[in-house]
């Protein structure tokens, strides 16, 4: 039963309930023809996903248990000598644990920043004003622009020699000396407050919030449009102020969306490679796990070590994705 009703996992549209099974054999013949057509139509996708995604992931598992270097790649077979050495090296080195800590700090703060900024933007642009559509489109630019262009613009802006940020920072904001935003590994102290986060890490976190807030902005705007106007009107009649209406009427409506956003953004930030690699190259206390995988693979040619780290990253993510599927998307089945 479940195999039939759950097909496609898509929400059925209210106007078109699934066709009642017709009497007799003709329905069975049609259903079988449909089943064959379905498999035929999905098979190209299935093949490319299996060959290019699923098989490589399984192969990563094999690679992680072998001592394989880029240099002797051509002479090694698919099933070499299996060993736990790579995992020993990963878990035994302080480097891995420190990059795990960096990754978590980066993901949590980056996600919080992106959603917070997105929420502020969605609320500010909620009521119509002249030119709102253009402003909305502008808000999406950081998200759609090529990552290389965005990081290059930021890197140049923050350049200690001729960047515009340091030029005005030293003149207007009273900085003692230009700040090397992307290569300074010492902890930030803001107004005498030690934050315990290296300057470069704070820079990539701010960049991540800037780059991803449009995604949260889009989702929250869509959700805000679906909030019934009568709710707020009722609160208004009861004498609720702006902040009270937000706290007690809007926020409860937005929370489920914020939860989904938090999980999605956290997963993506946890894996993100491009932003940090392009901004800092993983230096100055910003080496997250994905950058460390890349460096092991290309700079050190240590395929086994890279695979082992990637696998640990994937295991952590599998737990997160599992939580996401289990906790946050049961609605699909209900509809």
């Amino acid at each position: 039963m479940s195999a039939e009703t759950g097909v496609g996992a898509g929400p059925a549209i209210p106007e078109t309930p699934p066709a009642e099974p017709g009497p007799g054999r003709s329905r069975g013949v049609l259903a079988r023809a449909d089943a064959r057509a379905g498999l035929a139509l999905i098979s190209p996708t299935l093949i490319i996903v299996l060959v290019m995604v699923v098989l490589p992931i399984l192969w990563t598992v094999l690679l992680a248990f072998q001592r394989l270097r880029l240099l002797n790649l051509r002479t090694t077979g698919l099933f070499g000598n299996f060993t736990l050495n790579n995992f020993d090296n990963v878990f035994g080195s302080g480097a891995f644990w420190s990059s795990l800590g960096t990754t978590v700090a980066y993901s949590v703060l980056g996600t919080a920043g992106a959603i917070g900024l997105g929420l502020v933007a969605a609320l500010a642009l909620r009521r119509p004003f002249p030119g709102r559509n253009l402003v909305r489109a502008a808000m999406l630019l950081p998200y759609v622009a090529p990552i290389v262009a965005a990081t290059f613009a930021w890197k140049t802006m923050l350049n200690p020699q001729f960047g515009v940020a340091n030029y005005w920072g030293t003149r207007l904001l009273g900085w003692d000396a230009p700040i090397a935003f992307v290569s300074e590994g010492r902890p930030v102290s803001l107004f005498g407050l030690e934050l315990g986060i290296p300057t470069a890490l704070l820079t990539v976190i701010v960049f991540e919030a800037w780059r991803s807030f449009p995604f949260a902005f889009l989702f929250l705007t869509a959700r805000l449009q679906a909030v019934p106007g009568t709710l707020e009107e009722a609160a208004l009649v009861d004498g609720a102020t702006v902040s009270q209406r937000f706290r007690h009427v809007l926020l409860p409506q937005l929370l489920p969306t914020i939860a989904v956003l938090a999980v999605l953004r956290f997963i993506w930030t946890f894996n993100s490679f491009d932003d940090i690699y392009l901004l800092t190259g993983g230096g100055a206390g910003t080496e997250v796990i994905s950058v460390s995988v890349f460096n092991s693979l290309t700079a050190r040619g240590d395929i086994g070590g890279a695979a082992a780290q990637a696998l640990v990253l994937a295991a952590i993510l599998a737990v997160l994705v599992g939580l996401y599927l289990w906790k946050l998307s049961p609605r699909e089945e209900q509809s």
């Binding site: 498999l39 290389v148 030029y167 889009l218 102020t241």
Partner: protein
């Protein structure tokens, strides 16, 4: 109470305007700064780094970045062609296999379709860096590393799942009764798909094509892994990232390259903002 209401209404009214202006500055300034720098010669930038308006517009950076390496330029014309070839090829191939797939998942009941949907969602959420290791090794081994075709195939395999997810949401909104009417008139399953469903889904297909193009055009990690050793096959993104920080190529020249790689995306985006926004939030209504 009424007093607090008035104070809050005014306070948030002012804050709202400030926030909108602040957000505009924050989102647009890096792009404005890129254009500005690409129009100024390097020595002018070094002499006066804080200038916020171009004093004398100079297109030399664009000439230098676009002209071929033989002519003393950076050869970004070739990089543009590479980026365009990979992105367009990815769009064509992804749509060719995702359209039938999305139709099947939305409309046809077959064994295992539910598991397939879950598999695609997992692929969508899983990290690219996890695939980097095996694909790098595999393509090195079969000698396809350094080829644009290999890169395109990798892109297709990673985008097809999300593409199907977006298209399926659209097919779900097309009334089944239209297809049933065609079936009664004697149309086959493929005929229905070709004559009824695809024409109806045209806006969604265009939005999807733009979305795929943007992902493929902007992609960096796999381009870096696969193509870095062959300068002739670099994409624009790869070109900028590889030449950045070197002494021979001034940053203003690379900034021109950066503007060039952003421009197609911005044009596409503003031309189709509505379609794309709907595509990006496909599924948001459910959440």
């Amino acid at each position: 109470m009424a007093n607090r209401d008035r104070v809050e209404t005014q306070l948030f009214g002012v804050m709202r305007i400030l926030v909108i202006i602040g957000l505009l500055v924050v989102t647009l300034f890096p792009f404005y700064y890129s254009v500005l720098l690409s129009l100024r010669p390097l020595d002018a930038v070094l002499q006066d780094p804080g200038a916020l308006l171009p004093t004398d517009v100079d297109l030399g950076s664009y000439a230098s970045v676009l002209s071929s390496a033989a002519a003393g330029g950076q050869g970004f014309g070739v990089f543009m062609a590479n980026s365009a070839a990979v992105a367009l090829g990815t769009v064509a191939l992804t749509l060719a296999i995702a359209l039938p797939g999305a139709y099947a998942i939305s409309r046809l009941r077959f064994f295992g379709s539910r598991q397939i949907s879950v598999l695609f969602l997992a692929v969508y959420l899983f990290p690219a860096i996890l695939l980097a290791v095996p694909l790098f090794v595999f393509f090195t081994r079969i000698g396809l590393r350094g080829s644009l075709v290999g890169l395109g195939i990798v892109y297709v395999s990673q985008i097809v799942a999300v593409s199907i997810y977006m298209l399926r949401n659209y097919f779900d909104t097309v009334p089944v009764s239209l297809e049933e009417a065609a079936a009664i008139d004697g149309c086959s399953r493929l005929g229905i798909m070709w004559r009824i469903s695809l024409p109806l889904a045209k806006p969604a297909i265009i939005a999807n094509a733009l979305f795929i193009f943007m992902i493929a055009w902007n992609e960096f990690l796999f381009a870096l892994l696969f193509l870095v050793e062959e300068r002739d096959r670099w994409t624009v993104s790869l070109g900028i990232s590889q030449l950045a920080g070197s002494i021979e190529v001034p940053d203003t020249v690379l900034m021109a390259g950066s503007v060039i790689v952003t421009l197609p995306i911005v044009i596409l985006f503003f031309a189709s903002e509505r379609l794309l926004t709907e595509g990006l939030t496909a599924g948001a209504e459910k959440g």
